[in-house]
């Protein structure tokens, strides 16, 4: 579904991504893992067209995304830091999103709006919301239009345990429907039940792309954070 070919991104002299080749198919649920500054967010932003690649290309359903915009109809995005127009209230924001992106095909998916009790804060302005509540609103918007691809950048950071569980349930449910889910997180234990594949980035390079089963066999561990820690300790680089 998403094919990334020889993607390189440079900011001036600094290289954020170096010759990334990777393919994500629908039905997969992928964890993007890597230390701070390894290029996870740059990769996600490249897929969304927020960052323009220096070299290489990205194909969405076999079509190049460069200077394209229609493909974003199929993507729900939850950014790491949710920034919204501060003077709008939640109701206006949701209405704006629906206006911009009204769907003829899919009906609105308001599961999360109910799960997070967003109805109760519809009249609050965005500037008065706490960081966690903003994350909730952000998650609602990402899931609202039942997109084929969900890109979640640190979705659980700042959420309370209960909301965290609700969001994970929702991700699980969407995964069952055969959607492509891309998640980055530092809290690896959060990803345990959700993720089927792992992509590991370091210094802008793709170190490996393996299924969770392969990693289990390789390291003999059950938990994702143990697997990753094991690989990092052994200083292994598994070639693709």
């Amino acid at each position: 579904m998403i094919h990334i070919k020889n993607l390189t991104k440079k900011y001036g002299k600094a290289t954020a991504l170096q010759n990334i080749n990777v393919a994500f198919e629908s039905g997969e649920s992928i964890a993007l893992i890597g230390p701070n500054g390894s290029g996870k967010t740059t990769l996600i932003k490249s897929i969304l067209g927020l960052v323009i690649p220096t070299e290489g290309n990205i194909f969405f359903n076999k079509k190049s995304i460069l200077q394209e915009w229609k493909y974003r109809n199929e993507i729900g995005y939850m950014p790491q830091i949710s920034r919204f127009p501060e003077n709008m209230n939640v109701h206006q924001l949701l209405k704006l999103m629906k206006d911009v992106r009204k769907d003829e095909h899919n009906k609105l998916d308001e599961d999360l709006i109910h799960a997070f009790n967003i109805e109760n804060i519809l009249n609050k302005t965005m500037s008065s919301l706490s960081g966690g509540t903003r994350q909730k609103v952000s998650a609602c918007i990402a899931f609202l239009f039942s997109p084929q691809v969900l890109i979640l950048d640190e979705p659980t950071a700042g959420l309370d345990p209960l909301s965290n569980e609700k969001l994970k349930e929702k991700i699980e449910k969407e995964k069952q429907k055969g959607k492509l889910i891309l998640i980055t997180s530092h809290v690896l234990s959060d990803l345990d039940d959700v993720v089927s594949q792992v992509v590991y980035l370091q210094d802008g390079k793709l170190m490996f792309h393996k299924t969770v089963e392969e990693l289990e066999d390789f390291t003999g561990e059950q938990k994702l954070n143990r697997m990753i820690a094991g690989i990092m300790n052994k200083q292994f680089v598994i070639s693709n």
Partner: protein, 255 residues
């Protein structure tokens, strides 16, 4: 696209600075016309406001507004929308709000109290300068990521066009005063939208008789229909050029 423009325009029409700007211009122009009996003197006083104040407010306000809309723009960029559509909506929103402010604040009083040929030119010049300085602000803020840098560039641009450029022209005039400079002066005017607007209005007023031989050359050129077309075209170029740069840069900008 219409829907995004609607959101931006509603947001701007509630903006206190836009409302304050409109009221300030309205009070100012109404009181200037009520001070003296001669409306053409009123036009002359308003001229300085149009040439100095309107560009300043247009460039600074649009710059700050664009930086403050960063969240909105970022949110829209992740949606199925063209980059061009998003920036164009911002431009259309800011332009329509400020043009409306200028039209209510300067246009209506001038039409009511004066209504002469020079008055109409004043209104056209004010509207043109508004658009041109919004375009410059868009270019400055798309080109720079840093907010303070972008606003700094905007202030410098205004300073250059409103004050420094005239100083440079005077310097050239005195340095080369032995040569006939009437024709080069015409070209130099075209390089500054504020000068262009000033000359276009002054020549419609009686004071142009006091400007000597240069005034006569200017009168001959700008008084003709070719001259009018030249002024309008030059102002249009001044509006389109920075816009075009802003859109080209925005297309390739990393968010």
């Amino acid at each position: 696209m219409k829907k995004i423009i609607k959101y931006i325009v509603i947001d701007l029409l509630r903006n206190k600075i836009v409302i304050g700007y409109t009221i300030f211009l309205l009070i100012l122009s109404a009181s200037i016309f009520n001070l003296g009996a001669d409306p053409s003197k009123g036009i002359l006083s308003l001229l300085n406001i149009v040439l100095i104040f309107v560009p300043l407010v247009s460039i600074i306000f649009s710059n700050i507004y664009l930086y403050n809309s960063a969240e909105f723009i970022e949110l829209m960029l992740t949606q199925p929308l063209k980059r061009k559509t998003i920036l164009l909506s911002e431009f259309a929103g800011v332009s329509s709000a400020l043009l409306l402010a200028v039209f209510i604040g300067i246009g209506i009083p001038v039409i009511i109290f004066d209504g002469s040929n020079a008055g109409w030119w004043l209104i056209i010049a004010a509207l043109f300068l508004t658009i041109i300085f919004i375009a410059l602000a868009f270019w400055a803020s798309v080109a720079t990521r840093d907010k303070s840098k972008g606003i700094g560039i905007s202030i410098l641009l205004w300073f250059y066009f409103a004050l420094i450029y005239d100083g440079l022209v005077l310097f050239i005039l005195f340095s080369f005063s032995d040569y006939p400079l009437e024709k080069p002066m015409l070209a130099m005017c075209a390089l500054n939208p504020i000068d262009l607007a000033r000359i276009a209005i002054l020549l419609k007023l009686d004071v142009s008789a006091l400007m000597g031989y240069t005034g006569a050359v200017f009168q001959q050129f700008f008084g003709s229909s070719e001259g009018v077309i030249f002024v309008v075209c030059a102002l249009l170029v001044w509006a389109v050029l920075p816009c075009w740069r802003a859109f080209a840069l925005f297309k390739k900008k990393d968010m």
